[in-house]
Subunit: 391 residues, 2 copies
């Protein structure tokens, strides 16, 4: 016979999921109501309004996809890419590669614009690719690369795409709520995110937003969308205005309770204060880790405050260190992915988890464990550096 | 400013979501851990084992898809259907139609075998279609039609398909946990379900199971799967054996806590006792409703105990009745779908919600509300009939 599951309480400072605010855990445990209940329809409307505020957009089609971030990505690609469409994908990490895979599966032709892992997308390279491929329909890039901790200049990249009348698809999985996302100011056409990063919600939902231009491109498709579940022509009917909702799938009711509460929490804090908090805690962690002699792989002006890619000291078995952190301190940090596997740790300071207690814990737990392995670090300096950084 | 959401406590006796067992609500509110945490990997293994027991199968590839039932359906079709494949779809309600839509989106050719809404799939019609279309690759049908409350003979339909060397895809969304599902005895190749019906879990996950024959068909595809998120070649790596799991998407951690608890509860009750409970409460509800003069549209031997399609008395505004039930008694029952819209109510007795208290409440709340509208029903007889039915 199996037993009920009682997870150990961890501190989640990896690339996501991040620590979930207890208010959100409570919200998810409220009694389930029907997905066609008038109260649930009101909940849907409030979620849409708060997501619009978070994405900083007036886009009517701003909703959570009923599945994790990868499904939000797929929703954007499967609806906007038609067979034969040329799509420029800017790749500077794992998730750009996944975008290219999406394009190919839906019959599109990929033009890859590559940048080094750990660097922002170079707008000049995109400009060159657009000149070389004037028949491009879509430009896709990752705003916040979760695999490297890099932030690209979304405003600049969207502007280049718009100047050539291309649609844009922007991955905001790790940025939304943690650093500024402003779809309307950028002129972005499609963006997707996840709930398990800076919204501090459980994983399982993917907020997306599509501009009128994108919606009109979907409505004018000449081929059917290669998905029933993610076909926005159908999903729009389910999430449409007022009481006239057409049954599509069954929404994940309790997960949406959680997202609603996450958005209420963010509204109470305000976006600006949340972004500043993420910056402040990042600077403190950086001070602590640098005092120990660790360094960041991303240049300072391209760094994401919520995802810190830190180089691993010489001679250290990085997996063993992560295991020790988990076993001794119940602290989770992330491994490197793809080209950076074995080269960096990824330390998240996302949403609820971006706080001084976690900064202090992480730096000192790392110091304690690295000392066990005789890693070449400076000891006893992290806490003071962190304290000074908070000022 | 938006406020935290506090749903009214409803009794969910529609076609799903059904009432969620409070143990499951508590489970979903436990602290989130990472999706690569060793404890989470143990949880995944236990969920797989308990799902195998519930589907009565040894299929290795038995996992929950990280999205609602419609995504489980799509997972089966997008992985098994290749462009040009001939697929026989048996349609006797809404969900067979959805299967046909899936087939077309993935480039397959649909042969539709139609039966009346409210009747089981006729094996003879399938036999005839198989004879007429010897090049059929896949046979798809719905075991338990949620839109009509009909149960088809899955064993017989699978046997016919196997005799012609066809793969089968079986919709078990509403049957799993409530009536017998026995994939190995049937010889079914792919089945999908949902968590929000007889498993009494919140909506958002879709348990699926695929036979070795199905897995080998997927591995031998000559065209790529038209989905990254649902590509089982990738998902299998994530849900694979032991600690060697390849990162794919981020699993909905807390929703999986809920499914785990649902499966523990079902294991404790045992499948046989659960099926018998669904039968017993169905018989009692039937006795109560028939005493009032209401009737069922499905012939007795094709009826699902967990989903009761009941005809609406003459001259009654069915939507108004449902609204009154919700407002006065916080009781949700379902409307008819598709061809049965406006003709039936769908009353669910699913999982945790299948209990004598709900039977008594539903029959008497219906009597009270129908009396307000002077509907031609017999009053004062339901409770006695229910009592006698429980014996």
């Amino acid at each position: 016979m199996h037993q009920s599951f009682n997870p150990t309480v961890r501190t989640l400072m990896g690339p996501g999921p991040s620590d979930v605010n207890p208010r959100i855990l409570v919200a998810m445990s409220k009694p389930t109501i029907g997905h066609l209940d008038p109260e649930f329809i009101r909940l849907m409307d409030e979620i849409k309004a708060m997501l619009q505020a978070t994405f900083q957009t007036k886009n009517e089609l701003t909703i959570p996809v009923s599945a994790p971030g990868s499904a939000g990505m797929e929703t954007c690609f499967v609806n906007l890419v038609e067979p034969g469409d040329k799509v420029i994908v800017c790749q500077n990490g794992v998730f750009g590669g996944r975008m290219a895979d999406n394009v190919k599966r839906f019959g599109g032709e990929v033009v890859l614009v590559e940048d080094e892992w750990g660097r922002a997308v170079d707008p000049q390279k995109l400009e060159d690719a657009l000149t070389q491929h004037p028949d491009t329909k879509i430009v896709a890039f990752v705003h916040a690369e979760t695999s490297t901790g890099v932030q690209s200049n979304a405003a600049a990249l969207c502007a280049l795409a718009r100047a050539r009348d291309c649609l844009t698809i922007v991955d905001c999985v790790t940025s939304l709520g943690g650093t500024e996302v402003n779809l309307d100011a950028w002129g972005a056409d499609a963006a997707y995110s996840g709930t398990q990063k800076c919204l501090s919600c459980a994983p399982g939902l993917s907020p997306i937003s599509l501009s009128e231009r994108a919606v009109s491109a979907i409505k004018n498709r000449t081929t059917p969308v290669a998905s029933w579940f993610l076909d926005l022509n159908l999903v729009m009917g389910y999430w449409g205005e007022g009481q006239k909702r057409a049954y599509h799938h069954t929404a994940p009711v309790n997960a949406l309770y959680g997202l609603h509460e996450a958005l209420v929490i963010l509204e109470q804090e305000t976006l600006a204060v949340s972004w500043e908090r993420h910056q402040r805690n990042h600077r403190a962690l950086k001070a602590g880790l640098e005092a120990m002699g660790l360094s960041f792989i991303v240049p300072e002006d391209e760094r994401l405050p919520q995802l810190n890619a830190v180089t691993i000291p010489e001679g250290v078995d990085e997996a063993q260190v992560r295991q020790q952190l988990l076993q001794q301190y119940n602290l989770e940090i992330g491994a490197g992915l793809g080209a950076l596997a074995g080269k960096v740790w990824r330390i998240g300071l996302m949403g609820y988890a971006s706080n001084p207690k976690n900064v202090l814990l992480c730096a000192n737990a790392l110091e304690a464990v690295l000392s066990q392995y005789n890693a070449p670090i400076h000891k006893g300096l992290a806490t003071g550096a962190i304290e000074r950084a908070y000022g």
